[in-house]
Amino acid sequence: MTARIWLALALIPCTPGWALESGDTVYVRARNTKLLKEPRANAPAGRTLNVGEALTWRKAEAGNFHEVQPTGEKKAGFVYYANLALKPPREERWAASNTTTDVEDFGSSGAATKGLAQGAVQLAATDASLARAATALKALELLQAGITDDELDAQLLRSGQEARK
């Protein structure tokens, strides 16, 4: 190999990228992620995938969809890129001392409301201004919980899909 080729190789920027190859593992990022039967929004859906579930990546499709196969299953399907991650999402534990993940009920959309923590409710009862704030926060929580998965999907498409234009 000539010195010129060595020099050219040395000048290639070192990019710590994550080039995916068929067979690599990706993870489900969020709850209510559907395994779609076709690589398009509003395609008929197969089963709902679990948060953190490992999937075998097959290939990228047009429109930021990816063909994936749930581990141990024969049938592949399609997932929008924003619902996939290269690392599993961070586990949440209700108490720091817990050894297993025990928080799965809260999601970024469509989740049941958790309600204000009891301590905050009791604190709000000590002051009129805090009580008004508590009422507002409860209303905000209802507003947030009222956002549907369809609305969230449309919002994710709004920023991600238009990028192709």
């Binding site: 948060v51 990228a60 956002i147």
Partner: protein, 336 residues
């Protein structure tokens, strides 16, 4: 006089003398006391700064802090979808902010947190977040936003603070400070042969006068989970949340945390397909005087750090990221 009252008295008298020296008092009515410098850090207290906090404790503290923020900044602009035209407009705006925030949170490092995104009535230009996923942007900041990329960037900056548990770091520091204070009192307390180590919750003096603090201190010193939903701890929760929010709104987090949140915002924007350059431009145009983001590093330093981070990220290959957008996402009608 109880042992603890004597300890407080002795501490009050001796502490000023003992800041630099170890003082051995002459035996007398008060038993022999070895005074330790109050400025020598206790390792068990230092550990509290970095101790992990479960989501239950985080949410309890975060909800109390959210109450303080909303109360201090004039309430939330929620509107009324069934009200007047103006109220409907406010409701639509609140919903859009919640939706953009939900998308940002969806691709964050902590998608399982119960995120909430609200608009504060305050006219100042600011955004703030509390542990557990309560994120707020002020009406003043919203009015300056020119496109959805900038709004997403502001929310993403706060999401990155929550994901990085930056405010929880302050909470850890508060715990460590409380622990140090208590240890100083313990160090100066007269010791009686055969007496077990003092416990605040067992002390009649502290139980009678400061039951909440005594209970809190015992939990903190054990390194156990603080159950802020316990009614006895409401005064402590009130005090802590007030102190932490006051610090957040007046002084803010440290510069390192702000730079981290900026980098996190750039990452989130890239993942969603937004243009980080738009958020950088928003930051660059912020005045850096008065109360407006005054606790953040200067706009020029933030811009340079974000541009460098963006350049590194763009050089990376990430198949789970859309192609860079050429033009920003226009503001939806309800935000204009």
């Amino acid at each position: 006089m109880t042992g603890w009252a004597r300890a407080v008295l002795v501490t009050g008298l001796v502490a000023p003398l003992s800041s630099c020296l170890h003082v051995q008092l002459v035996p007398g009515e008060v038993p022999s006391v070895e005074v330790r410098s109050p400025f020598r850090p206790h390792p068990e207290c230092e550990q509290l700064k970095l101790a992990d906090v479960g989501l239950g404790e985080e949410l309890s503290l975060g909800d109390a802090m959210a109450l303080r923020v909303v109360s201090a900044r004039g309430g939330l602009a929620l509107g009324d979808a069934g009200g007047s035209a103006e109220e409907k407009q406010l409701a639509a705006r609140a919903r859009r902010v919640a939706l953009v925030g939900a998308a940002v949170a969806h691709v964050s490092e902590r998608p399982l947190v119960p995120w909430r995104f609200g608009v504060l009535q305050a006219p100042e230009v600011n955004a703030v977040s509390a542990p557990g996923g309560a994120v707020f942007i002020t009406r003043g900041a919203l009015a300056r936003v020119e496109n959805e990329d900038q709004l997403a960037g502001i929310l993403a900056h706060e999401v990155a603070h929550v994901a990085g548990r930056h405010a929880l770091g302050r909470y850890g520091e508060e715990k460590a400070r409380t622990c140090e204070l208590v240890q100083v009192v313990r160090d100066h307390r007269p010791s009686f042969p055969g007496e077990p180590p003092p416990s605040f919750s067992d002390s009649p003096f502290w139980q009678r006068h400061f039951p909440a603090f005594a209970h809190y201190v015992d939990v903190v010193l054990r390194g156990a989970t603080v159950d802020f939903d316990d009614a006895v701890l409401v005064p402590v929760l009130g005090n802590l949340s007030e102190k932490l929010v006051d610090g957040l709104l007046r002084v803010g987090l440290d510069k390192e945390a702000e730079f981290q949140a900026d980098a996190g915002a750039v990452d989130l924007l890239l993942t969603l397909g937004y243009r980080p350059e738009e958020f950088i431009r928003f930051v660059e145009q912020l005045p850096h005087d008065g109360d407006v983001f005054s606790h953040h590093p200067g706009p020029a330093a933030r811009r340079d750090a974000m541009l460098a981070h963006l350049s590194r990220r763009r050089a990376e290959e990430n198949p789970l990221r859309p192609q860079p957008r050429k033009v920003p996402v226009p503001l939806p009608p309800e935000l204009k």
